[in-house]
Amino acid sequence: MKYETVIGLEIHVQLATQSKLFSGAATRYGAEPNAQACIIDLGMPGVLPVINETAIKMAVKFGLAVNASITSPSVFARKNYFYPDLPKGYQISQLDLPIVANGSIDVQLDDGEIKTIRITRAHLEEDAGKSVHEGYGEHTAIDLNRAGTPLIEIVSEPDIRSAKEAAAYMKKIHSLIRYLEISDGNMQEGSFRCDANVSIREDGSSELGTRAEIKNINSFRFVEKAIDYEVERQIDLLESGKKVTQETRLYDANKNETRSMRSKEEANDYRYFPDPDLLPVMFSDELIKSIEQSMPELPDAKRQRFIDELGLSVYDSDNLTASRELANYFEQALAIATNAKLTANWVMGEFLAALNKEGLDISDTPVSADMLGGLVKRIDDNTISGKIAKQVFDAMWNGEGSADQIIEAQGLHQVTDTGAIEKLVDDVINANPKQVEQYQNSPDDKKGKLIGFFVGQVMKTSQGKANPQQVNKLLKEKLK
């Protein structure tokens, strides 16, 4: 039997606000336990929540970026359950009127196909604190620094059909929230994590199978592996005549398996109701418009502009816009270099290779965008050859200064003086009479290959500084 996989993702994104969703406490990662929990985060008797407007605006930005409608009024609701790291005994979230509804995003698949994934909703909610089970003997310690941190939960329709699609969608959302600067997207620190709802059905069936929800996946790799494992597990169940049970499962990356956390019967009844401490949030057209105007260029638009206006290939444009950091780096380098294709080659070639080799992020690069732009400019204006440029790049990487400083210090200027090049060419021709004869007796279609020898010799004697185009041209004339 053939099966189709049906996946919906719920992505939790921690918003990069200075303070919490309903209190003034800071949200910085890594502070001393409970150093960032004020009376509101502690759920002290009598305290009240006050909404963080920055968080609201960030959620709206996301909504506009995925062409969703912004719900007005949008309502906060209480999700009631008991847990020691949930101080109020309820989480302030949204149910019926989430701030973002009915959006979509285009995802490029491996085969180049563009697939539209619908986004059902995205709502604002506060994070819970953290229970620490290790290091306190038989006790559990509670750290409420994270309690009240703003999250948006982005819920997709079950439009995803494979683990690879799920990862591509997750990456696209990750890139988008970084572009929008609404989250640092740091997956190690839990700022970006997802739950995957996975089910399978017979190929061609229009009915959805029973789903399992895999909780708390915090990497692109794990989302693929967890879904792959889960699909296999469900197929095995059906093939052996068993049924998939609706349940919540946990992915164990060490064992690469999912295992049951709780069944549907054990699921909480959250007793949602509108939070009477918070008024519905209303959005005026002016506010939406002003948020829209404050938004940066989005990846898809940027990609199209790179193709249309800079004349870059689809491949280059895709790669350069994959992350906002890379796109920014490229555009900043381009502002100095002015040659788009050459800049793109250098950013995606030498620059990324060097980063990868040393395992660095763009933010840690020793070669700034301005520096790379300065280098490309010197290739473009023939000050140095591409070959010498690699030498200059390495020197910049090692902290020896800007391209111009290095070129000056090491005397790497390309020789473009025709007289000087002619002398070099003549010397090489005179020193290699055999090869000259061989060249002149060859048919025209072989000549191109043979001239390479002379070019190489000239470049060698010039220590790479002669302009290769000029050398080529002169050799052709003189060897006729």
Binding site: M44, G46, L48, R78, N80, P84, P87, D269, P276
Partner: protein
């Protein structure tokens, strides 16, 4: 001295006839003398009171005093007071020392008032008799075998016996007005959103509202001037221009249209109470008011709707009392579930548990629409009833309660009958309207309260109507015997 109103005490302090320290001692002694009989207070705070009094005297000496500087009063024990036990009448919070002051506490402190204690109340403000307090029932000073009403019964009893000249209260379904009526004092429940709820331990967030409990309407206006206003810490508080609640006290009431809902004068209401209320309304008529019969058809639905909405919100608001971070924790919990179950079972009283159960039930999957949503619909109908009424009349009058104070223990086993004590008050909370209860005579030797309900933000006219009534009557000056040492 102890029978003076705030307005009178303000003059005496201002002209140096008495110091705040003397006044504070005098009231504190009265509290000490009579608290064992009435049980009005959970906590008395003589040291901090004397300190505030000395500060107040210094301000008065420098002529930097305001109208309330140096006047003793008490807070209902639902308002968080930094470093002073705030129990909310519950074993759950018997050990709770708030790390912060409620906005109302801060505002009255800033106004120079001297807080001499925290008054008794029904646990978490759930009740109409102050019998649901972990600290034992408060007695009605007019007849100590009767309840003082609730939940702000400690405040009403203390003001009625003149142990303090004024107190704060909170009103979720009548908890300021009903005890004010049963003890023969003045109690104002402001428009929802007028007084900050920050630091006022939540019972039902969409209904709770703090307000003054005083001898006179003028005193209530003075307190309102200090506590009303927008608070950035309370998203449901309203941003409005500052109002001086004393400005309209002496306005003429000629031509005011008073609506009498037929539902408030039905056969179920104690006839002697109705008689007193009709006499009071007669006085308004003599003063030139127009009396108009009106209909509030959904009045009978207010109690059932209230007992869905309020417990629903309460069940969620009280979830934070789990034995983990503050308040009562059971001994030797074996695991997390045991910690939760026993801390809450042992820390909460029966009425609180009853309402948590009702609330959790009406919010649960499958029942939400039938109960919670339906109650919200009824709530809108009740609000609409009032809005149509206010097209014809300026205010609505009737008895605050269907009968005077009932006996201690009389209704403890009959929660529904107890809930009906709030029949005329809860609809006001459901609609978010302001209302005042003022003394309007006696029935069977117990005080009767006249309730005046106005449209949103009509507090100045309610206070005006109440003040004018108090200019021609002396019910508000009556004081129970036995407390005149």
């Amino acid at each position: 001295m102890y029978t003076h109103t705030l307005a009178e005490l303000s003059k005496l302090l201002n002209d140096g006839s008495i110091s705040s320290v003397e006044l504070t001692k005098l009231y504190y002694e009265r509290c000490q003398t009579y608290n064992s009989e009435l049980n009005c207070f959970i906590t008395l705070t003589p040291e901090s009171a004397m300190e505030s009094a000395r500060t107040a005297d210094a301000l008065i000496a420098k002529k930097q005093n305001g109208p309330l500087t140096g006047i003793p009063f008490a807070h209902k024990d639902i308002f968080c007071t930094q470093g002073t036990k705030t129990s909310c009448g519950s074993k759950m919070l018997d050990n709770f020392l708030p790390p912060y002051d409620a906005t109302v506490v801060k505002k009255l402190g800033d106004a120079g008032m001297v807080c001499i204690g925290k008054t008794n109340m029904d646990e978490f403000a759930m009740g109409s008799s102050t019998e649901n307090s972990y600290y034992g029932p408060t007695k009605n000073p007019w007849d100590v075998s009767k309840v003082p009403g609730g939940s702000s019964g400690g405040s009403s009893s203390a003001v009625a016996a003149r142990l303090i000249p004024a107190a704060t209260g909170t009103d979720t379904g009548g908890s300021i007005r009903q005890p004010a009526a049963l003890c023969g004092i003045t109690g104002l429940k402001p428009t929802y959103g007028t007084v900050s709820r920050f630091g006022m331990i939540a019972f039902a967030s969409s209904l709770d509202q703090g307000g003054p409990m005083t001898q006179t309407a003028e005193d209530a206006a003075m307190i309102m001037n200090a506590i009303a206003g927008f608070d950035v810490n309370d998203s449901t508080s309203l941003e409005r221009e500052n109002v001086d609640y004393t400005t309209n006290l002496n306005d003429s009431i000629e031509g005011v249209r008073i609506g009498l809902p037929k539902q408030y004068f039905s056969a179920d209401v104690d006839p002697k109470t109705i008689e007193q209320i009709k006499d009071a309304i007669g006085l308004y008529e003599q003063a030139g008011a127009k009396i108009i019969d009106i209909d509030l058809p959904n009045t009978s639905l207010s109690i059932p709707a209230y007992y869905v909405v309020a417990p629903a919100e309460a069940s969620s608001n009280l979830s934070r009392f789990d034995g983990v971070r503050f308040g009562y924790r059971c001994d030797d919990p074996v695991d997390l579930l045991d910690l939760y179950c026993r801390s809450r079972s042992e820390g909460f009283g029966n009425e609180v548990k009853r309402r948590i159960m009702i609330g959790a039930y009406v919010l649960s999957a499958g029942y939400y629409d039938a109960y919670y949503l339906k109650a919200q619909k009824i709530r809108r109908m009740i609000r609409d009833d009032f809005q149509s009424a206010f097209k014809e009349v300026d205010v609505i009058m009737g008895p605050t309660t269907p009968a005077p104070a009932f006996g201690l223990n009389e209704l403890l086993d009959d929660p529904v009958q107890m809930y009906l004590a709030d029949i005329f008050t809860v609809s006001v909370n459901l609609a978010g309207l302001p209302a005042i209860s003022i003394p309007a005579g006696f029935a069977s030797n117990l005080p009767v309260g006249l309730q005046i309900i106005g449209n949103y933000f009509s507090e100045p006219s309610l206070l005006n109507l109440a003040h004018q009534f108090q200019q021609t009557t002396d019910w508000h000056k009556k004081m129970p015997e036995g407390f005149r040492s």
